[in-house]
């Protein structure tokens, strides 16, 4: 099954929401957290999503629509 490694960045207003849990409930994707740093006003989580490609895509689209930033784990790769 395909998987994707991503970093989610949460704004202050979403810190207390169970966004990752909801992602796993709403879409048939398995979330597997590897590293995280969550503060009062900001947080990020590095995780792996496993599921069918279109489901991962839809799941991430939903996460984005909630106001969470989604990035590849290794940062921006488009260089100057």
């Amino acid at each position: 099954m395909p998987s994707r490694r991503i970093k989610l960045t949460f704004p202050a207003r979403l810190i207390k929401d169970p966004v990752i849990w909801q992602l796993g409930q709403k879409f048939p994707v398995v979330t597997n957290i590897r590293r995280a740093d969550v503060r009062e006003d900001y947080g990020w989580v590095v995780l792996e999503l496993t599921g069918e490609e279109p489901e991962i895509e839809r799941g991430l689209e939903w996460v984005r629509s909630m106001g969470v930033r989604v990035d590849p784990v290794s940062g921006d790769v488009v260089e100057g």
Binding site: R35, D37, R69, V73, V77, E79, G80
Partner: protein, 408 residues
């Protein structure tokens, strides 16, 4: 011969063999090359370096590839120039410019790509690839040409054609990706997982990044085996910044140079994309991603891969991070050109303007050895400074000329 013992995760410390890998399978942290410093210590000496070629390959003992098989366009050992005019203006007696704009493809990227291309061939890849809006594209294409490899350059579809002319000319396949900048990022990260290609700054990133150490080595050697007091370095992903420091630090720990004090590392960015500076000023341990909007396109990375390590480098060296207003970028380019005869691109403008601010604020002592890193050529970002072209128009007569230039 390369003295590499493997790769190590910078987060959890797990070790991996020296393969085309860039993230730790366990924690997804970035991997870094591990060297056998004991073996290096036994062979490395100033004399051995000085006998080497006048390129970055004179430091082969500290690089992660075999120099004999290097894809070498004669990169490195670029001029370190004493900036007496600019120094006088800023009240700095020991100011130097490291002019890395004169590399074979006109930016410091040749250092990192030279390593990546060599490693790619060693691993048996036949295709070199990257996502780039400028300097990296040109360098990857040039090295692929020299290596007899294919190259793929991914760009956002709305990028001006001229920006990648310096890549297309070498025979690279340029792929314009429809969608946003983020889409290009995501696509390339996925392609790197899918295709058996050497994406220089993705699956070869641990090796690639090491190339920037040579800038640190060169500065120390060219200063007459002295460490500088301050380095002013442009930052996008933050990799160059951390590796210049790593290079200087390795020379010290190998006993090739005596450190008389700490080299303070200063990262510089333009305000329109300054996530590292923002994090430094706010005292955050991690960089928070931003959406770039800056004239300094070569530094427009909103989510810097090495932002966290750049912050650690600043802390370890009692350095700083300085941003400059967008309008000062061009001022910096002009200052350097008019005072030192060196034409840097926008990243250089950022560095020089930041240097001016630091000098004015008294952040640099007047006799402290300071090196400003000019990492890309001004001919690449001509649109930024177009307004300087204001010719005096004259009739083809001496009288007309004299009338026009009168008082100049």
């Amino acid at each position: 011969m390369a003295y590499v013992s493997g790769l190590r995760c910078r987060e959890c410390g797990r070790e991996y063999p020296a393969e085309p890998l860039n993230v730790c399978d366990f924690c997804f942290g970035p991997l870094e090359v591990v060297y056998d410093y004991e073996a290096i210590r036994r062979v490395a000496s100033r004399e051995r370096i000085q006998r080497g070629p006048l390129t970055m390959w004179r430091y082969e003992d500290l690089l992660p590839v075999d120099a004999e098989r290097a894809i070498n366009l004669h990169t490195g050992f670029t001029p370190l120039v004493k900036a007496t005019n600019l120094g006088r203006l800023l009240g700095l007696n020991e100011l130097y410019i490291k002019n890395d704009a004169v590399n074979p493809s006109y930016s410091f990227k040749d250092r990192v790509v030279s390593i990546a291309a060599t490693k790619a061939r060693e691993f048996g890849f036949d295709t070199l690839a990257c996502a780039s809006t400028g300097n990296l594209a040109g360098s990857v294409a040039a090295h692929a040409a020299k290596a007899g490899m294919k190259s793929f350059i991914f760009i956002p579809h709305d990028l001006e054609k001229g920006k990648v002319l310096g890549a297309a000319i070498y025979g690279a396949t340029v792929v314009a990706v429809k969608g946003s900048y983020d889409d290009v990022n995501r696509l390339c990260s996925e392609l790197a997982d899918t295709y058996h290609w050497a994406f220089v700054n993705i699956n070869l990133r641990p090796y690639y990044a090491e190339g920037s150490k040579t800038l640190g080595y060169e500065v120390v050697e060219q200063l007459g085996w002295r460490v500088p007091d301050h380095c002013i370095v442009p930052a996008a992903s933050g990799s160059l910044f951390t590796k210049v420091w790593k290079g200087i630090n390795e020379f010290v720990s190998l006993g090739l140079v005596q450190a008389t004090g700490t080299t303070h590392m200063h990262a510089t960015q333009a305000e329109g994309c300054s996530p590292i500076v923002t994090a430094y000023q706010a005292g955050w341990t991690h960089v928070r991603p931003v959406r770039p909007k800056t004239i300094a396109k070569s530094l427009a990375i909103g989510n810097p891969a090495d932002g966290f390590y750049a912050l650690k480098t600043i802390q370890a060296t009692s350095g700083s991070a300085v941003s400059v207003p967008e309008e000062e970028v061009v001022e910096g380019i002009k200052l350097l050109a008019e005072y030192e005869g060196i034409f840097g691109e926008t990243a250089g403008g950022v560095v020089v303007s930041a240097l001016r601010r630091m000098a004015q604020q008294g952040a640099i002592g007047k006799d402290e050895v300071t090196v400003a890193f000019i990492t890309g050529n001004g001919l690449k970002t001509q649109e930024a400074v177009e307004s300087v072209v204001q010719p005096i128009t004259v009739e083809p007569t001496v009288a007309s000329f004299q009338a026009a230039v009168n008082g100049r």
